[in-house]
Amino acid sequence: MTDVALTVGASPKPKLDHPVAPTTAILFVSILVAGIVYAGLNIYLEVRDAGVITESWLPFILLGIALLIALGFEFVNGFHDTANAVATVIYTHSLAPNVAVLWSGLWNFIGVMVSSGAVAFVIISLLPVELILQVGSHAGFAMVFALLFAAIIWNLGTWWLGLPASSSHTLIGSIIGVGIANALMQGRDGTAGVNWSQAVNVGYALLLSPIIGFICAALLLLTLKYLVRKPSLYQEPKGATPPPLWIRAILVLTYLHRRLLRPWLKRWSEGHGPHHVDPDRLRADRLCLEPRHA
């Protein structure tokens, strides 16, 4: 009887709508401001150090806007990335939503910091070489902003609809798009501008991932049901009770694996610098940035 009383009182749905505490908001804004000031100061010092002769502030204002857009791209990537990592731990009450999300953000931060950036340059090498050689030109900027805007638009759109999409696919698609447009505008055959091996890779991913995920998870669940005959595991959580310790451990560990361990493993397996990365084995993730799955 006590069981019934419990279920009536508490919904198994996790509470996602915590009001934002003022201290959290203040912390968020101060990190943001500190980041912008830090970046601005560094640009200023490095530019001064390089002895650039400045006649007006205009180029720097433009540079600032451009950098904000690039960082906005990362910001939006973050939306998709966490969701993917925290959904199961939250819904099984293994971790409280705010804890899971905070950790996720922290580990993402660390993940970028420990990555070598090698993958970023591999991604760059997939772009049309003549545009890379003239990044300072009109066409160069058109390329950079086309990539960023396309990825931001698609990521924001799918996010708004609540659909978890793959940011790697978005980025590879954007790169291919610029390649085709550039080839066509130069009067070449549009297909010449496409890195076909990348497109085919995405095609495989599209075919493989859902099938592997669906079938393997289904089989695993059935095996588990057969081996561990404990009905409470296969019913919806009662209230906000966390799962038994071993299930909780699996959930939190897989979550940590993705957040913490992988960036390190990845860095270690990257070898000894950019010249060892083969672009065709790459699952591209970030534009200028770092290796990770999403």
Partner: protein
């Protein structure tokens, strides 16, 4: 980084933090690479070496004059760096060209290795790899503050906006609430797949594996699936690539004509 290089090449086109002591090493490795390349293809380099190498990188087919062109570029880079003694002192007017020459040589070496044409002996390979490492250190670097800024942007983005997608995965794929066993199964499969993908270089997407893993456990548990969500998910996944191609292609066209 491309934005920085495009806007303020003087400050970011070359790695100004590279110590002066490296120049000696740079010179030795450059000379060795040039000799090795010249031995491979003796001959007069083409008039426009840059254009020749650029085309080579684009179409990835070796022409009779490609290697001599690369060798010529190596010589040019070396002469420039030697003249100023260090990367930091290369003047604004020249820095952009030096960077491009370095980038071209590095990419050309990469393409040679990848296509396996021409076939190179071990000594040449080692010499070119070492030189490429120097070039990449000079051009493919990321300043600490860029990393920090990106990490902050991603970290903060992570902390907001997650709700919409979490609700989809947690509530809208299956008809009943996610159970403990379902969560664990989906997560384990996602982790196993990532490990496999890393090992074999398979192009799977975590996002897709996890969401479909949840769907799989819902089906296996007899909970039933919310077909509308599943349809939307599949549609979004299929459309991602073509839509991104279309978006960036048309944006590029528009932006180049402004």
């Amino acid at each position: 980084m491309l934005i920085l290089i495009g806007c303020v090449p003087t400050a970011y086109a070359l790695n100004r933090a590279m110590p002066d002591s490296r120049v000696e090493q740079f010179h030795v490795l450059g000379a060795a690479a040039q000799t090795a390349l010249q031995k491979l293809a003796p001959g007069v380099p083409p008039a426009d070496t840059r254009a020749t190498v650029t085309t080579y990188i684009r179409i990835k087919q070796l022409q009779p004059d490609t290697i001599s062109a690369v060798a010529e570029l190596v010589g040019k880079i070396d002469a420039q760096v030697n003249e100023y003694g260090t990367l930091r002192k290369i003047p604004t007017a020249a820095v952009y060209n030096v960077r491009n020459d370095m980038y071209l040589v590095s990419e050309a070496i990469r393409v040679m290795f990848k296509t396996g044409v021409p076939s190179l002996n071990q000594a040449t390979k080692e010499s070119l790899t070492a030189y490429k490492g120097e070039l990449d250190d000079a051009t493919k670097y990321i300043p600490l503050w860029v990393k920090v800024s990106v990490a902050i942007a991603l970290g903060l983005g992570t902390m907001i906006g997650w709700k919409r997608i979490v609700v989809t995965v947690g509530e809208k794929i299956g008809k009943s609430h996610l159970t403990y066993a379902q969560g664990a199964s989906a997560e384990l499969v996602a982790m196993g797949t990532i490990a496999g993908a890393d090992m074999f270089g398979m192009p799977v997407s975590t996002t897709q594996v996890l969401s479909s893993g949840v769907a799989g456990t819902m089906a296996a548990n007899g909970s039933g699936l919310q077909m509308a969500t599943v349809r939307n998910l599949l549609m979004a996944w299929v459309l991602t690539l073509p839509m991104a191609v279309l978006l960036s292609g048309s944006l590029y066209w528009i932006l180049s004509h402004i």
